[in-house]
Symmetry: C2
Subunit: 230 residues, 2 copies
DNA sequence: TCAAAAGTGTTTATAATACACCCATGG
DNA sequence: CCATGGGTGTATTATAAACACTTTTGA
């Protein structure tokens, strides 16, 4: 069997990862200082090149791990960018992926990787190539996702307060939501367990801690379940 | 300036187009008989390879035109497929695009291209590689899009009846919708103009013809406008 | 005159939104 | 005893869904 592919152009396929982090009410993005040309020394998304022996998802995981030490991050494919001059050095197509994680839970992994740094969305530096476009598209996608389906585990400590959860939504959606409506909505979703424990760190009264109920959450995920935050 | 890209793998980047067609209440997909190895003679999506000098969108348009004669079709990027063994002949990544068109308006262009053929979704043949997956993902995306935002121009004749529009939605969503709710909804969107003309071809009473109001439609498109069909 | 498709509104249910006061406690 | 953040419920509005009869006219 001979394939008729001999005359076709081959190109470099890059992967760029947009990692959003949530910490203390603030939505951030993880960037790295590029250590090779072109644009060496400038800030960029976490990127690298696909190898022939791996899928794009594999490549994204490998690159993320190499540049930041993080592992077990589920990333979702976002878009493939193909402007001819997007990388001035050579014709390169890039597929972008994104994920959102809890910064605290991954801080230790990151400490030794001094090239990677968290930036608040509001004061992120200008990025190389079309990475600003990628970031924007990722923000849009994240907002849409967030407003129609509950945010998963792993973004908050195992035990968290309603206030923390609300702050998370507010950070992603970039607007305030009504406390009572928010709580009612979350309750109606029935994916949280209220604990007897209280968090005393931010008030005299203390606020109840909650956990995600993995089973209920999974059950709902499979259906056409959605959440709309007022 | 030297780029540090020399050691990276290069791959073939393919483009596959999923063209949905609507004709007479039936939703179809356009397939071609492959005329090169591997899998020569089998049915596949409309595909080809990216050239170094074009974007993916350019490539999609070029390939669609080459294989079917169609032009001026706006396609939306769907997903990039990268399983290592997806094409057994050589490592190939593929970005898929989709569009939906009015079959009647493009029939003439297609007549001379005997390799391309419309198939109803319900009895499409098995496709090569991962093309069935691509098709499925495209159907899902099309349904979601359809249920949250009005379908554009170009899918129906310039003048059309409410019945035709309803059939279009029903074909895409693959379920019946209530006539009165549908009409009320469409009216509330305020993007159609009712003409004085009637279509007499399907009843003695005749049914009014409508046209899209391009300006109103564009205005709404820019907003967060959406439509939900009961 | 009747068959076949067109056209038309109202009621009900559900979901989204707006909104304000009391509670508990450590200092 | 009071300042601070925690906790709670209801009324209103908007949207979705269910539902059936009358009109027209060519054959």
């Amino acid at each position: 069997m001979t394939a008729g592919y001999e005359l076709e152009d081959k190109v470099l396929l890059a992967v760029d990862c947009i990692i959003f982090g949530f910490d203390n009410g603030d939505l951030k993005v993880l960037l790295v200082k590029r250590d090779f040309e072109p644009e060496k020394g400038k800030w960029s998304l976490i990127g690298g090149f696909l190898k022939k022996t791996e899928t794009l998802d594999d490549a994204a995981r490998r690159i993320l791990h190499t540049l930041t030490g993080m592992h077990d991050i589920y990333m979702e494919q976002l878009y493939t960018w193909s402007e001819v001059e997007r990388d001035p050095a050579e014709r390169t197509i890039s597929t972008s992926f994104y994920a959102i994680i809890d910064i605290k839970q991954h801080d230790k992994e990151l400490i030794e990787h001094h090239n990677a740094k968290w930036f608040s969305l509001s004061n992120a530096p200008k990025l190389i190539f079309d990475h600003d476009q990628m970031l924007n598209k990722a923000i849009m996608r994240l907002r849409r996702r967030t407003s129609i389906s509950p945010i998963g585990f792993g973004l908050l400590p195992e035990k968290f307060t309603m206030k923390q959860l609300q702050k998370l939504y507010e950070a992603i959606l970039d607007r305030k939501v009504d406390k009572r409506n928010f709580i009612n909505k979350i309750k109606s979703m029935d994916i949280l367990v209220k604990l007897d424990e209280k968090d005393m760190s931010s008030s005299t009264k203390g606020s109840y801690l909650f956990m995600f109920d993995q089973e209920k959450y999974d059950a709902k995920q499979t259906k056409d379940f959605y959440l709309k935050i007022s």
